[in-house]
Amino acid sequence: MSSFRHDVEGTVPALRRYARALTRDTELADDLVQDTLVRALRSEHLFHGGDIRSWLFTILTNLNRNRLRSLARRPLTASLDDNDAPDSAGPEAGGRDIERALELLVDDQKQALLLVVLEGLSYREVADVQGVPIGTVMSRLARARAQIKSYLDGERPALRRVK
């Protein structure tokens, strides 16, 4: 196996992890990874050195963006429903609170946060993946973290209404 293919294969576990966190759906996540790999293997000649991992994350991020666009998704509809009361077992119960908090983020913020904390990409690499200046990455990261914090701190619409 060529070193290109070997490197692609070595990135698959991380791609699955990132896709799973982005979509929260195992099948959909693996479909995205598969599409990413098919495209990468087909485009081997377009890869001119550099970091294969960043390149694959870029492809996956673009494919996911195309997917969301085609769904014309309305982001907040599902997550602000009545069942949004805090879990009695505490914020980290089963990881569901962090999932819900991530769900509230706009896609660009969610990507930036996941690429940094889950995939350990440098801010520079995230800027390349998202195709934006590094300052934009920093503000996406800051907004993502502030929003998750206020969600986990209990500043939820449902609670506010009660007060």
Partner: protein, 274 residues
Amino acid sequence: MIERESPVTEDELHAFIDGQLPAERSAAVEAWLASHPEDAARVAAWRAQADAIRLRFGETANEAVPERLKVDTLLRSGRKWRAIAAAVAAFAFLVGGVSGWMARGTTEVAAAAGDPADQIAQEALSAHKLYIAEVRHPIEVGAAEAHLMPWLSRRLGTNLRIPDFSHFDLKLLGGRLLPGPSGTAALFMFENGNGDRVTFYCSKAGPQQMAFRYLQSDNVAAIRWVESGYTFVVSGNADKARLKELARAAYEQLENRAPPPTNRSSAEPARKGT
């Protein structure tokens, strides 16, 4: 929040917990956090978020990779895969067609009434959104097929030309025929190595000539112009500067003449080498 004369920035607080702070700054940040409990609490909360995210999703990377995601499998099943993909794409086309059509009512209410060129541009943007989502079947006829241009030229009743976007690292994938608001339309799709896609749309409309106009819908945008009775639309990510460069390049190549005059040239300097 951090005070105005702060020697520690918010970005540095993020870099601190993300392990991306230059070593020489870590002592300053630690000292800052020791004397600013609010920031220390914020940083602790961010760290807890990161831990929760890693706890929740980290395990995925340790799962056995399913057979269908192995490189050997993907290479071996390339041929069979394409056959399946064609069937999947045909299905997705039906579903996408319906949802795309339904979405039109809600997301594109702003379609300018009356101006046929703007209606065509809206249509081009809808087609762009629909087809960029197609992974394996974005086009009807590939760029390598000799009959692509003769076929679409005949259907549009003109000698079609396609812009060359190779300066933008965009490669032509191919084209397709579409029904447009004022007759037949052709859509060409370009793609770079990162999966970023741009479409070029062409349809017959109006005898008059019209200057560039920019339209945006969510994260995608288009620039349209009218020349010699045809409306041309370039659609892509909502990046106005880049779209302008693409539209300008297409315009210049198609008209085979000098850059359009004054009022548009204030936008950006011409791209080198075009």
